[in-house]
């Protein structure tokens, strides 16, 4: 603006000089008395004429400025400079845009381009609606436009969206401008980016709270696993000083870190299937539990937060509880031995023939004593799994063998339920590292459920699928399917689906819970797909065996510090 004023002043002087010269030459040519007098009179005439023209110019400008009460003619130069500096400051430190009265953008500054990622050509002439998203409790583009288009000013905090879909938090002031007749001509929007300030404030607030937590807390990038922050107790557990955190990754937290297992552990969290994931591992310093969830920062960028808890004391009390459960189990099984033994002898006819009704009643008593025993056994297994006292004997096994053996072992049960277990061949070896007895237990649980819920004469299919880094073992039935009301609690203890047909073989309600814990101890996952009226597929996934797993006896326990 200053440059423009200088140019204007120069132009004014030049034009005045030209006018003066012109008039002088005119007078010179018109008035013979002056013409005859020579160049001295010419110069004198030029000076007088120039002074007259300058006087007229000054008086004219003064008159024009005097009608504008806001204009301080005496200090105009300094005033213009003050405006220039103010505009420079605004442009440098704020995000500025100017929009026509109809809302279309007509000017933006450099900060606008840098902040939102659009260059002028992409936004000039367009409504700024591309910056607005759908945020709860935030004014929408329409609401703001409603106010401004009627000549009103608007002010408030906004979450706006950049070209690359990041969220930017700004404080916005929109001021309308009017011409002399009071017509709304345009609006100027001045914005201050609050994103970094908020991020720092949130970070400081968060850090103050979690720094003092008794559990270790690690914050890290979900893509690179680079560590961003570790609280005091976390640093103490890892033996790191504050300065040693930079450049560290999650892989540095434990010497025997299993990257593949860690990624599988986080997978449900990262693909949105779960809001948090938990795993128990055995560290050099004892058993720990790691609970991880995703946190979205003020800029929308996600981070992972893992809380590491020492559970040695909890494990100890679980062991004591297990000892109690073991003793109780013994005390319960002893009388059950006599009950079952006596019923069995009577039922067999070894003590004499029974009338049909007595035989039926004895059968009922015997069957339920079997069921009672199953419940005792399952409770004990569950307690052992929860306390970590169950031994897992790891070896390399081919899942094809597991399916074949499971079909043979459960064939009798299938016949009782009038279903046929069909093993679909998988052409090549499908090797995993695991405990064959425990995996057989899982297969028996899944197959017995499938048989119980299948109609008479139906097939239950057993097959293997390749899922990139893992093998998936599937048990597919053609029963009624599972209602949605049961989906969330299906793997809970003692939960049983209410079948549309009356079940003649109710289970203990612990089979799926036990199966889930066994698979989790193998570092795998178990899930199901179902369709009402068509059937269900229950499946579990285990990592494919590789040569590097030979040295890991307890892979799920030694994965993470």
């Amino acid at each position: 603006m200053k440059r423009i004023r200088k140019i204007s002043l120069f132009a004014l002087v030049l034009s005045n000089t030209a006018i003066s010269l012109g008039l002088t030459m005119l007078f010179y040519s018109w008035v013979p008395a002056i013409t005859a007098s020579g160049s001295e009179r010419f110069m004198l005439l030029f000076v007088v004429t120039s002074a007259l023209v300058a006087l007229i110019t000054v008086v004219s400008i003064a008159y024009a400025k005097s009608t504008d009460p806001d204009y301080n003619w005496a200090f105009s130069g300094a005033y213009d400079e003050a405006i220039d500096l103010r505009e420079q400051a605004l442009n440098k430190h704020t995000i500025v845009s100017v929009a026509h009265a109809d809302g279309r953008i007509k000017e933006i500054n450099e900060n606008f381009e840098k902040t939102f990622g659009y260059d002028a050509r992409e936004v000039i002439g367009k409504l700024p609606s591309m910056l607005y998203g759908e945020f709860k409790d935030e004014a929408s583009f329409r609401e703001v436009f409603e106010v401004v288009s009627k000549g009103g000013a608007w002010q408030g905090e906004q979450c706006l969206i950049t070209k690359d879909r990041r969220i930017v938090r700004v404080h916005t002031t929109i001021i309308p401008r009017f011409d002399k007749s009071g017509t709304h001509t345009d609006s100027i929007s001045i914005r201050t980016d609050l994103t970094h300030a908020r991020a720092e404030a949130a970070s400081e607030g968060r850090n103050a709270v979690i720094e003092g937590l008794p559990d270790g807390v690690i914050v890290y990038d979900p893509e690179t696993f680079e560590i961003i922050y570790v609280n005091k107790n976390g640093r103490k557990r890892l033996g790191w000083s504050t300065g040693e955190i930079e450049g560290k990754h999650m892989f540095d937290t434990f010497t025997k870190f299993d990257k593949g297992l860690f990624e599988r552990y986080l997978a449900p969290l990262l693909n949105g299937e779960a809001k948090e994931v938990t795993i128990e591992v055995v560290h050099d310093q004892g058993p720990i539990e790691i609970l991880t969830h995703i946190d979205a920062g003020p800029d929308g960028k996600p981070t992972l937060i893992s809380v590491v808890r020492d559970i040695a004391e909890r494990k100890q009390s679980e062991r004591l509880k297990l000892n109690s459960v073991s003793m109780v189990s013994h005390e319960l099984r002893t009388p059950l031995t006599s009950i079952k033994g006596a019923l069995r002898l009577i039922e067999s006819g070894a003590l004499g023939e029974l009338g049909p009704e007595i035989a039926r009643m004895i059968s009922v008593a015997h069957r339920n004593s079997d069921r009672l025993l199953e419940i005792f056994n399952d409770i004990l297994v569950l307690e052992k799994l929860d306390s970590g006292e169950m031994d897992f004997s790891q070896s390399t096994l081919d899942l094809r063998d597991l399916l074949r053996e499971a079909a043979e072992a459960n064939a009798g049960y299938g016949e009782e339920c009038q279903v046929h277990f069909v093993v679909n061949d998988w052409g090549s070896a499908a090797e995993v590292h695991g405990d064959s007895a425990r995996l057989m237990q899982v297969m028996s649980n899944l197959m017995s459920n499938a048989a119980k819920f299948s109609p008479a004469g139906a097939d239950v299919n057993l097959y293997i699928q390749d899922c990139a880094g893992a093998w998936r073992v599937c048990v597919e039935d053609h029963g009624p399917g599972i209602p949605e009301s049961a989906h969330k609690t299906l793997f809970d203890s003692f939960f049983q689906v209410e079948d549309v047909q009356e079940q003649s073989r109710p289970g203990t309600g612990l089979g799926l819970t036990i199966s889930k814990k066994i698979i989790q101890r193998h570092g795998g996952r178990i899930a199901f797909e179902t369709e009402l009226g068509k059937g269900s597929v229950f499946y579990f996934e285990l990592a494919k065996h590789s040569a590097s797993q030979e040295d890991i006896d307890d892979a799920p326990q030694s994965a993470v510090a």
Binding site: H330, T334, L336, S338, R344, S348, A350, L373, N377
Partner: protein, 126 residues
């Protein structure tokens, strides 16, 4: 190894003793001698001369493993085959008993109709 005919069964539960008697004498055809405690068994063993010991694990006072140790110290009984019966469903206990020389470990509840066959099957491994 000769056929198995004489068994000494020790258990502190009277009802289980009754069930086992029916299973091994009525359903099967063993000659069964029974005691309800370790000290009682040690008193009677010389008169019974059993070919096999069938011992409960958890008994008050003298447990089954304790009794076994004392029997093995008696002249002529160091190598007597022994089968344990237990209601404690712990894999580690069974493993430990087998590793210390037990012929078999039968978990309770047992099926009285097949108990005899289980014992014969274990005897056949000798």
């Amino acid at each position: 190894m000769s056929d198995l005919t004489t068994i000494l069964h020790v258990d502190d539960d009277e009802d289980i003793l009754e069930i086992a008697r029916m299973a091994l004498e009525m359903v099967d055809s063993f000659t069964l001698h029974q005691c309800n405690s370790g000290p009682d068994a040690l008193e009677k063993i010389e008169g019974v001369a059993p070919q096999l010991l069938l011992l409960d694990v958890m008994m008050p006072g003298m447990t089954g493993p304790d009794l076994w140790a004392k029997v093995k110290a008696l002249p002529g009984y160091a190598e007597t085959p022994t089968i344990f019966m237990t209601a404690k469903a712990e894999d580690s206990l069974s493993q430990e008993l087998l590793e210390t020389g037990a012929l078999a470990v039968i978990t309770k509840p047992f099926d009285p109709m097949t108990l005899g066959a289980q014992i014969r099957a274990a005897w056949a491994k000798l």
